[in-house]
């Protein structure tokens, strides 16, 4: 049986918001599910997130945003990923995301949106199936 590559995930907290309970929970849950997860901590700029994603060669970028600034931040990230030729990264967004903003996030190229109170198993299953399709 071929060895299945381990999925690498970057959990990123952009902007000034310091509420990282969700980011830390998802980091622990994805690790338990067998992923390699990098959580570099708070106050990451979009530039820094792209740089870390490149250096760490991750498959997935998970943005955790509770400040309400998810639309401008996601837009900036998607643009910079495209410019860096990193369109193949699977981008998911979690946090305090009102339902009405989900279509706008998806149209920016965000693959999955997981508002607060999403179940760990849904996030794990989504990443497993979408990374497989997109990259592996």
């Amino acid at each position: 049986m071929p060895h299945k590559p381990i999925i690498r995930v970057l959990i990123a907290k952009p902007g000034l918001d310091g509420h990282d309970r969700g980011a830390r929970l998802v980091t622990l849950a994805l690790r338990d599910a067998g992923f390699e997860v990098i959580y570099p901590g708070l106050h990451q700029t979009v530039e820094k997130i792209v740089e870390t994603a490149l250096q760490e060669d991750v498959n997935v970028i998970g943005l955790s945003i509770l400040s309400g600034a998810h639309l401008p931040i996601a837009k900036k990230l998607m643009n910079q990923l495209r410019e860096a030729g990193m369109d193949d990264k699977l981008v998911v967004v979690g946090g305090n995301i009102p339902e009405q903003d989900i279509p706008a996030l998806k149209s920016l190229g965000v693959a999955g949106v997981f508002p607060s109170s999403s179940r760990f198993e849904e996030i794990v299953a989504f990443i497993q199936s979408n990374v497989a399709e997109k990259q592996m």
């Binding site: 310091g18 509420h19 607060s116």
Partner: protein, 533 residues
């Protein structure tokens, strides 16, 4: 054969028996451990008559957009019977950034009001008599300059410094554990708190320079024992800093208060507060040699937290809020700040804030909650649980000191943060697998449920307005006076002098929060987060 009874273990890890009786009071000394309200060790409350004499203060957290909008919300709340204020600042202000800073993009006025200069604080408190309304400033990393602004605004209203009342949150150690609005490395950040404690003890003795926030530690996922233990380890550290300045324990420690959280099991919360009061009294008396009863009293604000609210079936949060208020009153709080039902989504709308205010008013006005003091005192269950809590909190504080090298070391190295995150994870797993019941989430869930909540709207134009306002202020000020004041801030920070007089001079000259923070950063550097998961 009888049916097997369900096992109950509280979030704090304490097992609960199905029935409690006199045998559970066995090890409790009624005089030494419980006593009377208003007397050491204050288990039953810090005042002899509590709400019969002074009802709890209602202090809803409020602030958004520009200072004039926040000013209107303040007036709305005061007109509706709120008798104290609790100011929310936006994230750029909390991080010491002016509204025009590139890092502030998209954040100006979003989760609180934007304050760049003294002019903003003047607008926020226009027409609000600061000699009558006590104000809590929810600000931490830049608490020292924001307190300086508040003092100058009060002075301009004719309230002298030695009469100024109010509180600053000003608890930076909890920011590294939860909430994350930090700027400077741990040691200089704690030193700034020492400056504010010393300054207030000497010049503003009625002001509470620090409100230690177990609240945010619990909101980050700590269980109730950890919440109090880490808050107390932090408070003890600040007290040591005050003593190092040559202050006597009774000269300042009574002016340090606590902001604590309520969500979760009803009796667990009540026992937590009763135990916390008793333990604090003993720490102050036995470890610090306090003589004044006021120093030994644990003074608190607690009214409920967002941590227990659910996005699912949001109206259920109105009910949760009412129970939180009840817990808070049964716990003998001095002040309530009740979360609003829409806070699982956003900052509160006016309507949601009003429902919270009415919830507290109904409790005290209609329900007779304040008719007698500590009505649960003497309950076999509550007293037994209170004692168990006291033991466990004391053991956890010992762990911080003896195993982790003290709270400053434990926070700098990310140890407390990791501990809290792992507890949050255990709890969330329990909610997700249904072993921890949550109505609307894993019990009585509705497939087609309503999430139709009116949201507080955000106006991106606010940033432009704030930038324009600040540019006007900057153009109209005496540039030399600003430079000279900032230079004094730099020298004070560098030479280890108390920075407060220089900060007061700088804000009086309308230096911006960004200029002040930059000056301090040049001396102190910036914090590099240590993530240990």
């Amino acid at each position: 054969m009888a049916d097997k009874i369900r096992e109950v273990v509280l979030e704090s890890g304490i097992p609960v028996k199905p029935v409690y009786g006199p045998e559970d009071l066995g090890a409790i000394d009624l005089d030494h451990d419980i006593g009377k309200p208003g007397e050491f060790p204050f288990t039953r409350g810090i005042h002899p008559f509590m709400y019969r004499q002074r009802p709890f203060t209602m202090r809803q957290y409020a602030g958004f957009g520009m200072p004039h909008e926040t000013n209107q919300r303040f007036k709305f709340l005061i007109e509706n019977g709120q008798n104290a204020l609790n100011v929310a600042f936006d994230l750029p202000t909390q991080m010491g950034l002016d509204s025009g800073d590139p890092l502030a993009e998209g954040e100006v006025g979003r989760v609180g009001m934007a304050v760049d200069t003294l002019a903003d604080m003047e607008v926020a408190f226009a027409g609000i008599p600061l000699d009558q309304i006590s104000v809590s400033l929810t600000i931490n990393a830049v608490a020292a300059p924001i307190m300086a602004m508040y003092f100058v605004v009060a002075e301009k209203q004719g309230v002298p410094l030695n009469q100024v009342r109010g509180t600053a949150q000003n608890d930076i150690l909890k920011e590294y554990i939860g909430r994350g609005a930090w700027i400077f490395p741990v040691e200089p950040a704690v030193r700034l708190i020492g400056d504010t404690i010393e300054f207030c003890a000497r010049h503003a003795p009625k002001y509470y320079p620090v409100s230690v926030c177990g609240y945010h530690i619990r909101e980050s996922g700590a269980h109730p024992v950890q919440e109090i233990a880490y808050a107390y380890a932090i408070a003890k550290e600040y007290i040591k800093r005050g003593l190092e300045r040559g202050l006597g324990i009774d000269d300042f420690a009574g002016q340090i208060s606590f902001n604590l959280d309520i969500y979760g099991n009803f009796f667990e919360q009540i026992a937590k507060f009763r135990a916390a009061r008793r333990l604090w009294a003993r720490i102050m008396k036995d470890e610090f040699g306090a003589q004044s009863p006021s120093t030994m009293m644990m003074k608190m604000i607690a009214g409920g937290g967002g941590g227990g609210l659910t996005i699912e079936q949001p109206e259920n949060n109105i009910v949760r809020g009412a129970y939180y208020a009840l817990i808070s009153a049964l716990s003998g709080t001095q002040t309530m700040a009740l979360c609003s039902y829409d806070e699982a989504y956003t900052i509160p709308t006016e309507k949601a804030a009003l429902i919270s205010l009415r919830t507290m008013q109904i409790l005290i006005e209609e329900m007779g909650i304040g008719d007698t003091v500590d009505p649960l005192g003497g309950s076999y269950y509550v007293e037994s649980l209170t004692s168990e809590f006291e033991k466990r909190i004391a053991a956890e504080i010992k762990r911080v000191d003896e195993e982790w090298g003290g709270i400053v070391e434990a926070v700098s190295a990310g140890i407390v943060q990791g501990e809290v995150a792992r507890q949050a994870y255990r709890f969330e797993r329990g909610v997700q697998d249904g072993s921890i019941p949550k109505v609307g989430v894993n019990r009585f869930r509705m497939e087609e449920e309503s999430r139709d909540v009116a949201l507080h709207s955000y106006d991106p134009k606010q940033a432009e307005e704030s930038i324009r306002r600040t540019a006007e202020v900057v153009a109209g000020r005496d540039a030399d006076a600003v430079q000279s004041a900032l230079e004094k801030v730099r020298v004070a920070a560098k030479d280890g002098q108390n920075t407060m007089p220089a900060l007061i001079e700088a804000v009086r000259a309308y230096a911006t929060i960004g200029e002040i923070t930059k000056t301090l950063k040049e001396v102190f550097g910036e914090y590099a987060e240590q993530v240990k998961l």
